[in-house]
Symmetry: C2
Subunit: 183 residues, 2 copies
DNA sequence: TTGATAGCGAACAACTTGTTCCGTAATCAG
DNA sequence: CTGATTACGGAACAAGTTGTTCGCTATCAA
């Protein structure tokens, strides 16, 4: 890809996430993004059809990265292998890697929650897929566990992350364990 | 209150909910509401500061009504007293009382979910408040159970309500029962 | 009946979005 | 290095949206 394209694309992403940490998605105008990214109007629309497309691309980039690191935790030197994938994910989130945490705040009407929940669903399939109790519809269980994790993160955020990732993981595991077949 | 005021206020609510059943909140313009409600521009802004205020008022009206009927089920002739409050709520929702279901669809970015979740939290407090296990933070449990109910409803909607309220309630109870102290 | 108030319509400024045109500058291929 | 290609920027644009103001009429409550 042309070096120029890559640079402006990243400048726009950076500007957008920066603005998102300060205000609601719907309150952000394209003009503000242009000013923050120091990019021409024409250029912006050459890269993204609309603001919504920008959002979509950003989410794909961001949450794809989140779960990729979660699954590839072997290559990460920040936790023992016996740790839960979810604990690992929380630890990464706490560092507010790439500003993901800001996007999940209640300010942003849950716009990003669906993306996040989707990614976590894949994670749940991978981690718990073989341990789901057969008493309930499988798709219900998967979405329930994924949604519970996302909601747990939001609860953590609402309390301003005062609790430790270990405590939070314990809560999450406590409410989901009963749904799994013991190994 | 002046008869005229009441009539236009209701006309606007009606128009707004009607539009919400057809399209996304963010795609609806004030002009469309005016046309649908057959109300002057000046009049609209005399009643509601902005479209967001209209949304807030509508939610208060709607979800307040939902839980009010849920709690006052004694006065309702549509179910036995031994039924779960949640089953009762689902039955009401299935009739799409006042278009509440449309608002909870995934089209509307979860704008209404927070209102709904808030109402359900009160419900959970009332119904399960004395049966919550002491092993976990109380506020975590309450929000978890409320969020689980809301998410269960969304799952039901995503499947186009093909399952019966009884089945759905069974799912919800199955994943929440383990968190309660037996009576 | 009468004074108060709600509604209407038209026009308004300010802002936002997405497009077009054209000159400039960076990049890439040969 | 050179020439063709491509991205960028700036200005201007139409179309649409928001929220306000003005004067007039219809309705209400007492």
């Amino acid at each position: 890809m042309d070096r120029r394209q890559k640079k402006t694309r990243e400048a726009i992403f950076r500007a957008f996430t920066s603005l998102l940490s300060k205000k609601n998605y719907h309150q952000i105008t394209v003009q503000e993004i242009l000013d923050e990214a120091d990019v021409g109007r024409t250029t912006f629309y050459a890269h993204f059809e609309t603001k919504e497309y920008l959002l979509r691309d950003l989410c794909a980039d961001l949450f794809g990265h989140v779960t990729a690191t979660a699954l590839g935790q072997a290559s990460c030197a920040c936790g023992g292998a016996e740790d839960s994938v979810f604990l690992h994910l929380l630890r990464h989130l706490r560092q507010n890697d790439r500003g993901v945490l800001d996007l999940l705040s209640s300010e942003n009407d849950g716009l990003f929650l669906d993306y996040f929940r989707g990614e976590v669903s894949c994670l749940v399939e991978g981690v718990y897929g073989h341990r789901l109790t057969a008493d309930l519809p499988r798709d219900y269980l998967v979405q329930h566990i994924a949604a519970t994790f996302v909601q747990t993160v939001r609860w953590w955020l609402a309390g301003e992350c005062t609790r430790t990732p270990e405590e939070v993981t314990a809560c999450f595991l406590a409410v989901t364990e009963p749904l799994l077949i013991a190994v």
